[in-house]
Assembly symmetry: C3
Homo-oligomer: 216 residues x 3
């Protein structure tokens, strides 16, 4: 593994940890048992990438190499133990801790997996199809979180949090454009950072997209 | 593109518009923002076809050509603008407008995609496997609407609306039979029409299938 | 078909019947009509195997051969007729009948499909990748029930029933180990039995895994 592959792999693991943590946190809030929390962590972390690989027609890398599932389970267990010991992190004066940690973990995962999804499309023979690359980047980015929310019976983050799929879309476009102009590594880093920056700014300034006030 | 391919393509776009509109309408009723409405429109319009292509082992056509996602987004935006301006279409005396438009859009999409799903099975090397063709037609027809309802947290139309999957099943069988006896184009048209006719008749005459009155 | 293939096929049909019955029972409890009940039976019975085949990159066997869908529909219809005639099975003094039958059907399906999922991974060219085999076994085992619960809007069994995915995990590991030491047929039988035994013991002795008492 050369240095570039090592850095990409490190990013993959970072995204896996972030998404697994977000899955475990949803599982804990839904009062699941320890195994359910691990399952939800694994689904969130590997769900988007598996969907991408199946669509691109290759064996999911999460199935080939145990490292992704292993890291996900370890992360979910760590979150479980942390919140088992310090249960006040979920409630009372510290109640906002959950929301902030969730936003952070989910945004890191969204950014990294959007970038890596674009790279996967490039590596699998579609370097010139901009539309496909952006689409597959979004699928990879939002897929895991969407499965997490649907399995846990939560309203999907993608519909609830403003500027969610939108951040992934902007990041995907950046990633394709940067890949063509300045190369792979800067594209992955900058695009992932752009997604996170958009989400944090949106959360901080409470950006809203227009929506109709309807009577249901 | 010869004339037959052009007509089939026109049907695809028509089905895409109808399903995207149904997705956007559900999104609006759930008070999603403009991006969520577009996402739900795209998922409804391309979800069934992508599932079909993945099962048949080919790259989804919605990923290859941007036209389907483009048309879906344009449709969702148009529906959003329409209902943003004329919000009374969703409520009060006009409240039934929503139900009727939803029935219409969803039935047009169901009919067209059932037919096109059967054709896709035929074109991908299974012209003689009647069972596979009907099954893949149903999957293509009901897939997008099912994803729409599950993502939006609605009870799936397929279980709520009587004669829904049933209409798709009858349409799929018609389509296979007509393809073998009178050719591709008439099969697509007549089978799509049969599905829509069954659904409109079922809605108008309030047909019901038997179901047990259970105590939950 | 030699004797070993016949026995494996018999197991497949048994698992299909068990899962189709569990799907039909959920459909009946949700007061679906007869077609919805059949759809839910089919999805539960073939959903896990189709996901597995798509991930392994082959055409789903449920699409190639009509027997699985046929058996699922017949099972769902039989359950429907049984509960249509004897509606008191669902309520009153006999209310626990539903829970017990559901546990039985779901456990039989979980056990058999976990084993058969492992075998499918072995037959598709990954006999040495223990991790992949156990993972694909779990996916096949829990996939159908998960789709059933998500489509029906129930909280997924996998999160609600303790020792559910866990039983499948233990069964998958047993299956891989037994396959390598004593051969295919004993591995399938013993591993399926292990899954069922764990689930029945867990239900009988009310085994629980630790879970944090959080404030939602």
């Amino acid at each position: 593994m050369n240095i570039q592959d090592s850095i990409i792999f490190f990013m993959e693991i970072l995204g896996t940890i972030a998404f697994a943590a977000s899955g475990a946190m949803v599982g804990i809030r839904k009062r699941m048992d320890i195994f359910g929390i691990c399952v939800l962590g694994v689904v969130t972390a590997v769900g988007g990438g598996m969907t991408r690989d199946v669509i691109l027609g290759k064996l999911p890398s999460a199935l080939e190499k145990p490292v992704y599932v292993g890291v996900s389970v370890a992360t979910a267990l760590a979150i479980f133990i942390l919140l088992y010991i310090k249960q006040d992190l979920l409630s009372g004066r510290l109640g906002t801790f959950y929301d902030k940690a969730m936003l952070g973990m989910d945004s890191v995962g969204l950014g990294i997996f959007t970038s890596l999804g674009v790279m996967s499309g490039i590596d699998n023979g579609y370097p010139d199809n901009t539309f496909l690359l952006v689409f597959i980047g979004m699928l990879t980015g939002v897929g895991g979180g969407l499965m997490r929310d649907m399995m846990a019976g939560e309203e999907p983050y993608i519909f609830v949090k403003h500027i969610y799929a939108c951040a992934s879309l902007v990041g995907g476009i950046c990633c394709v454009w940067l890949y063509r102009s300045i190369g792979r590594l800067p594209a992955v880093f900058i695009a992932a950072f752009v997604v996170m920056a958009i989400r944090f700014l949106a959360a901080h300034f409470r950006w809203n997209l227009p929506h109709p006030k309807t009577l249901s």
